[in-house]
């Protein structure tokens, strides 16, 4: 059955929103860290990639490879939370080891360090893919993309499967990302830690004079941002069924563009930017040629940085001198 032009469009809207929510979840990690230490955490995309490899390792250990009722549901919950814990802890540890000693160094020193960390992560991902486990292809070709088992069926949740529909996978994406975003908003707005985070973002010196342990707050930010990347990695893997050690760069650039588009430092901005980038990607894939999609995303990134560096929702003043 052929889909009409309108149906194709609406299906692409659904796909774009789902991908956009995943991008938004990663973008939140960028924007939180940037808001607090003004570091473009380059390695965040690659941390996301490591989260997916961690999840695939767990899948291999559990031996669950098919969507089968409660078993799969339980596995997915375990995957989500353990990957989040892994990424959060890893991000926290990297902050401790690599970024904390450079807290007072020039900002670009920190950025170059983050680029270095990102390369180290990519290499860890390459080695990880060489593990002699069946899920990694028996360790025969470390660099090859890995199949992530389809634990979530692609069938329709709402709508006609051959026409416009929202699949169970789309449901999973929204079911995981929306509660996480609400939880994050609540944490930042209504908890003591969130208040401390906003204070440090505004003025670290004043915050520390008010008795806030700045290093601990920054560490917590890295942990939470990393954990969101971990959740995103599992959702991404279940949605797309393929992971590769090189996917962090692409995902990271999409998410960073989303964060910049929405206004870096702004949480609602990151979500808005993620959705817009997701929609842009799916529309470009559909109506232009796929090979130009990345170019369009990068062009958006450059245009926003040049003409409206504060993004759509950002209010950040110009650089402090």
């Amino acid at each position: 059955m052929e889909m009409t032009a309108a149906e194709v469009f609406f299906q692409q809207v659904v796909n774009g929103l789902s991908n956009g929510m995943i991008i938004a979840l990663i973008a939140l990690g960028y924007t939180m860290v940037y808001g607090i230490v003004e570091l473009i955490n380059w390695a965040h995309g690659d941390l996301f990639m490591l989260g997916a490899f961690f999840a695939l390792t767990l899948v291999g250990i559990f031996g669950v490879t098919e969507a089968s009722g409660m078993g799969a549901t339980g596995t997915i919950v375990v995957l989500l939370f353990s990957s989040a814990l892994f990424c959060g802890t890893f991000n926290y540890a990297v902050d401790w080891v690599a970024y904390r000693p450079l807290r007072k160094a020039p900002k670009l020193t920190l950025l170059v360090t983050a680029i270095g960390i990102s390369f180290i992560f990519v290499n860890i991902g390459l080695f990880w893919g060489g593990l002699p486990m069946e899920v990694f292809g028996g360790g025969n070709s470390a660099a090859a993309p890995k199949d992530f088992p389809p634990l979530v069926p692609a069938q329709a949740l709402f709508g006609n499967e051959e026409k416009v529909h929202v699949s169970v996978r789309d449901g999973l994406v929204f079911g995981v990302t929306v509660p996480l975003m609400i939880a994050l908003w609540w944490l930042v707005r209504h908890t003591k830690l969130g208040t401390a985070m906003r204070a440090v973002a505004q003025n670290p010196t004043a915050a520390s004079l008010m008795g806030i342990n700045v290093d601990r707050v920054i560490g917590a930010t890295f942990f939470i941002g990393g954990a969101l990347g971990g959740f995103a990695s599992v959702v991404y893997s279940l949605y797309n069924n393929t992971i590769s050690f090189q996917m962090g760069f692409r995902a990271g650039m999409d998410a960073f563009t989303a964060a910049v588009l929405g206004g870096i430092g702004s949480l609602p901005g990151a979500v808005l930017g993620g959705l817009l980038i997701g929609l842009t990607r799916s529309m470009s894939d559909q109506y232009l040629e796929t090979q130009w999609t990345n170019t369009i995303v990068f062009a958006i990134l450059i245009l926003i940085l040049v003409f409206r560096p504060s993004g759509l929702l950002g209010l950040r003043a110009k650089e402090k001198v």
Binding site: I40, A105, K107, L108, G116, V122, G130, N294, F298
Partner: protein, 377 residues
């Protein structure tokens, strides 16, 4: 950065501290030592029956030129540039299109090579003019995005660039060299260097690199070079002294792009092909950045040392180790850890992280030894 005087402009000053333009006390001495080594290498190589050092040296020389270009932007002017490979790619493709038979220009080697300089400068100008007012980290991202866009365009506009096939053959230089005559004797005559002519390439590239080093060293001491460094040290103060920051940054950007494109032209000619666009990806930009950072930001000698260390490690040491391990069957081929070539990302990553943490000045500090305490406050 010393702890008592934190840099107020923080963001663009990767290597702050004033008065750096004087350089090391005798910069030429270090350069001459490097030159002597560069002249000894082929002699030792040939005399010992071929250690295989000459062929990989070509990429050391070419990446030294790319990195000297990046050094103008990042080292002298203090702007983090993450897309230098794009300008190299522009030079590669410009050179190929200017010389390949299927395009209307059909220039020979030297005119095409020197045309890559203005082409690169114009490309740098096009990217730089709207973006150089941006703050440091945003500028870095813009250069990265530009690098990716150039790669995509080269891959996708197949009617012009042949897509992933690349353009070949391209022009090769016409130089006096030994030619084997029919009776087996060798005469000295004008001839074209082939891809396999490693020794001839070595000498030619070394001579060109010497020219570039002399050019950059003179530029460093010129009015514009001092303006670059004053913008790096303190943009506000230099503006107050009458140096227009955006125009100064623009000239650095265009110069860096021109040098990278020039190196790209040489690269295409040594390969006799453009290769595919993915050969000029983010990793290549980071290789150039590693050369500048490991060698010592803002130091010409440092960049040369950095090129030997980084490209040498990347192209010679890791490759040799990989071959050795495979021949000796030390580990099974399937073992991903056992192949040193699989450690390349780690090499770059660790180089950046450790240099930033412990020796942000690089191996060859542009201020001479003992004047810095390190980059930590």
């Amino acid at each position: 950065m010393s702890s008592e005087a934190p840099n107020p402009t923080g963001d663009r000053a990767l290597a702050p501290e004033a008065g750096a333009w004087r350089g090391t006390p005798r910069p030429w001495l270090a350069d001459l030592i490097l030159l002597a080594i560069a002249m000894l290498v082929p002699i030792v190589d040939v005399a010992s029956g071929g250690l295989g050092l000459i062929a990989p040296a070509k990429s050391i020389f070419i990446f030294a030129i790319v990195a000297l270009g990046l050094n103008v932007v990042t080292g002298f002017t203090g702007l983090l540039h993450l897309g230098i490979a794009a300008f190299m790619a522009i030079g590669v493709y410009a050179f190929a299109i200017l010389t390949n038979e299927s395009y209307p220009f059909r220039l020979s080697f030297w005119p095409a090579l020197f045309l890559t300089l203005p082409i690169g400068a114009i490309a740098g100008f096009v990217l730089g003019s709207p973006t150089l007012g941006l703050r440091g980290d945003y500028l870095a991202i813009v250069t990265l995005g530009f690098g990716e866009i150039v790669q995509d365009v080269l891959r996708n506009v197949e009617t012009v660039t042949q897509g992933t096939q690349g353009i070949n053959p391209v022009a090769k230089p016409f130089v006096p060299w030994f030619v084997a005559a029919e009776d087996g004797t060798r005469t000295f005559a004008w001839t074209r260097i082939s891809v396999a002519g490693d020794l001839a390439w070595y000498i030619l590239l070394l001579l060109i690199l010497i020219g570039v080093v002399v050019f950059v060293r003179n530029l460093e001491r010129s009015r514009i070079g001092r303006a670059w460094m004053s913008v790096r040290e303190d943009e506000l103060a230099s503006k107050a002294m009458g140096i227009p920051p955006v125009r100064t940054k623009m000239s650095a950007f265009a110069t860096g792009a021109a040098l990278a494109a020039f190196a790209g032209g040489l690269w295409a000619s040594t390969l006799d092909s453009t290769g595919e666009p993915a050969n000029y990806d983010f990793q290549v930009s980071i290789l150039a950045l590693c050369i500048v950072i490991v060698g010592g930001m803002g130091s010409v000698t440092g960049v040369l040392v950095g090129a030997v260390v980084m490209v040498g490690a990347n192209d010679i040491v890791l490759d040799r180790l990989t071959q050795f391990i495979q021949q000796q069957k030390l580990v099974s081929d399937a073992n991903v850890l056992g192949s040193p070539n699989n450690w390349k990302y780690m090499l770059f990553g660790l180089a950046l992280v450790f240099m930033m943490r412990f020796k942000p000045d690089g191996l060859v500090s542009r201020k001479g030894s003992g004047s810095r305490t390190g980059g930590r406050a």
